[in-house]
């Protein structure tokens, strides 16, 4: 993985020193809250319901074991023994004291991590396919390009005060696991007819109160032009994006109001003026960054097939886990493993300090010391020999992280919601816990099949509810929580925004409502091969409305 060069190290250390001084001056009363607030936000420090919250960047979701151990250390020493992995492949700590944050940032810097640009109207952490470098269907590893974008966008003087925050995601496979069409810029790394690498460029996707699917403005951008083209997009946005209304300030609104064709024309015109300048990526530089992401040497382990076969016969629970949480690797002797942070009835995305340390140990022993964080709030071991799967499974059972539910209805994305977040209107975690408990039975879950359920506690949509096959949005109505259900959303290569199915449900009704939706699907599907999303796309909302609201729906 990428290692800091001298410049990176100096830059991060200088930022730690600068923010340490700013915290000292704030605590001494030398600067006011109004002066301090933008400074702390630039360093990932929010204030939530119970305490401050520190959001730490995990670039493109890639961690080494030293970094994961440091996150465990921070959880134990400065927080309350756990961290929350987010839908942007980051981690949040919910309880740090402001006075401890300089020490936390110094600890993070010692393992080449920081919290810079995890807030504010700047280019945020660049996210990528969590199976990057491992997936069998990948054209090329998207992470070197995410790293190039990270370096370019870090404290970029022109793009540090954009109209609004800006999120970029990169995928290197046809099958989009990075939800690129819900990002401000989505990049699909691919090869053209000549076998050259480049990107399909999508712009103007986003969720929040106005969900929009990104529009493709270029089918193939040669890789060397990545930064000049991104600069052109950001310049058009910086110039014309609205600053008068926070709710209309994202690039998705600009693209929508300008029209895709005209927006693309503006970007191309801007790009013409700068495309062959110093932003053109030299091949040598691309290669140099690529070298950091060279895959580990995967020696032949052909005994894996037999080992897995025998272990499956021996243990049904292992077989279940392999079927659900293990995917094909580009190397036939290896696999990529999803470590579910969605234990039945648990808070999605939370991991304890000891779990983080144990995962680091497992990764060191069996997975080349590499861990990924997925936007679905799970951890990934990207390279595990199939011959070692049973040992990995046994070790995960020990730390209660072997729940075999990847991609199933209990693999729920949920934001922190009103249990922590100052912006939330309703709880998310409690709803996720109830639904998870209701559908705990694995046989039932597997019969239901692939089902992406996503919950947000407010319209900002951190829980991606718009693109859940089933989405749940918590709102506050007359002082009480109310949950709106959307159906038919998806965040893959066929991205769609879910449709609101009808009136909302109270906290005591929502799990029953979800069960009704699921039972309706089971009754109406053609056969087991038609998953929930496919069935919804075929059937439309009518049978679900009928099941949820009966005569009430007809009257309305």
């Amino acid at each position: 993985m990428y290692r800091y060069d001298e410049f990176d190290t100096d830059f991060v250390n200088a930022r730690v020193a600068e923010f340490t001084d700013q915290v000292d001056r704030r605590l001494a009363g030398e600067i006011t809250e109004d002066q301090f607030r933008p400074l702390r936000l630039m360093n990932g420090v929010y204030l939530q319901l119970h305490a401050y919250m520190l959001r730490i960047a995990i670039p493109y979701g890639t961690l080494n074991t030293g970094q994961l151990r440091m996150l465990a250390h921070i959880a134990r020493k400065y927080d309350k023994g756990y961290g929350h992995f987010t839908t942007r492949q980051n981690i949040q700590f919910n309880w740090p004291a402001l006075s401890d944050i300089p020490a936390i940032l110094a600890d993070l810097a010692s393992v080449e991590m920081h919290a810079i640009q995890t807030s504010g109207n700047c280019i945020r952490n660049v996210t990528a396919d969590h199976f990057a470098g491992a997936a069998a269907d990948e054209v090329a590893d998207p992470r070197p390009y995410a790293e190039i974008l990270r370096q370019w966008s870090s404290v970029h003087p022109e793009f540090s005060f954009l109209p609004r925050k800006f999120k970029i995601a990169v995928t290197g496979a046809e099958r989009d696991r990075a939800a690129i069409q819900t990002h401000d810029i989505g990049l699909h790394l691919k090869k053209n007819a000549e076998g050259e690498l480049g990107f399909a460029v999508y712009v103007g996707g986003g969720q929040g109160r106005t969900p929009m699917i990104a529009k493709k403005i270029r089918d193939f951008l040669p890789e060397k032009h990545l930064l000049s083209y991104a600069t052109a997009i950001l310049r058009v946005y910086n110039l014309y994006g609205r600053r008068d209304n926070k709710y209309k300030a994202r690039i998705k609104i600009l693209v929508h109001e300008t029209g895709t064709e005209e927006f693309a024309r503006q970007v191309e015109a801007e790009w013409e003026a700068l495309k062959d300048n110093e932003l053109t990526l030299p091949e040598a530089d691309i290669q140099a960054i690529n070298a950091y992401f060279a895959p580990p040497e995967l020696t032949a382990r052909p005994e894996g097939d037999q080992a897995v076969k025998l272990a499956r016969l021996d243990s049904k629970s292992f077989a279940d886990w392999v079927d659900q949480n293990v995917i094909t690797h580009r190397h036939p002797d290896y696999a990529a493993v999803t470590i579910s942070l969605k234990g039945i009835g648990e808070a999605p995305g939370d991991a304890s300090d000891s779990q983080m340390e144990a995962v680091a140990d497992i990764a060191d022993q069996y997975a080349f010391g590499e861990i990924r964080v997925s936007h679905e709030q799970n951890l990934i071991l990207p390279h595990v020999a199939r011959a070692d799967l049973k040992a990995v499974y046994d070790a995960l059972v020990e730390i209660e992280l072997a729940t075999p539910n990847s991609g199933l209805i209990t693999d729920i994305i949920a934001c922190p919601g009103l249990d922590y977040c100052a912006l939330a209107n309703a709880r998310s975690i409690s709803v996720a816990q109830d639904i998870s408990t209701r559908f705990a039975d694995l046989t039932r879950q597997r019969d239901i099949g692939e089902l992406k359920l996503k919950i947000s506690g407010c319209i900002n949509a951190c829980g991606h509810h718009h693109v859940g096959h089933i989405g749940i949005l918590g709102v506050e109505k007359k002082g009480a929580e109310l949950y709106q259900v959307t159906l038919g959303g998806s965040a893959d290569e066929h991205t769609s925004v879910g449709e609101i199915i009808g009136r909302g449900f109270g906290p005591d009704e929502i799990t029953d409502a979800i069960e009704t939706v699921v039972e309706t699907y089971l009754a109406q599907r053609l056969d087991k091969s038609e998953n929930f999303l496919a069935a919804y796309r075929r059937l439309g909302p009518a049978p679900f409305k009928e099941a949820l609201y009966g005569g009430e729906a007809k009257a309305a």
């Binding site: 119970h50 305490a51 402001l98 009103l418 709880r427 975690i429 506050e476």
Partner: protein, 98 residues
């Protein structure tokens, strides 16, 4: 009825202004007012504490008395006063349980 709440500057701890003119760590100790004069007094105390860099996010919130206990009207404030509903071992609620 209202109480004055904020988060302490140094550690972000949720606090409530008490009749003893200090920032208490539990809502049970909060000063409850039920008239405009009382609200104005609390607001003035909040402004002074904010200016003095003791607290941030100062806010007057609506409460009711239930069996003598102070109960915020909004769920958001009830969660602030107790802790996350999914982790009864954390927040203020963990102290009363202990």
């Amino acid at each position: 009825m209202k109480v004055l709440t904020a988060n302490r500057l140094t550690d972000g701890e949720a606090v409530w202004f008490s009749p003893g003119k200090f920032w208490a760590e539990t809502i049970a100790e909060a000063d409850v007012v039920d008239d405009k004069a009382g609200e104005a007094e609390l607001e003035a105390a909040g402004k002074a504490a904010f200016a003095n860099n003791e607290v941030v996010d100062v806010e007057l919130i609506d409460v009711e008395l239930v069996d003598g206990d102070i109960r915020p009207i909004r769920l958001r404030e009830r969660i602030r006063a107790a802790g996350p509903t999914n982790r009864l071992d954390l927040g203020k609620q963990a102290r009363t349980a202990a």
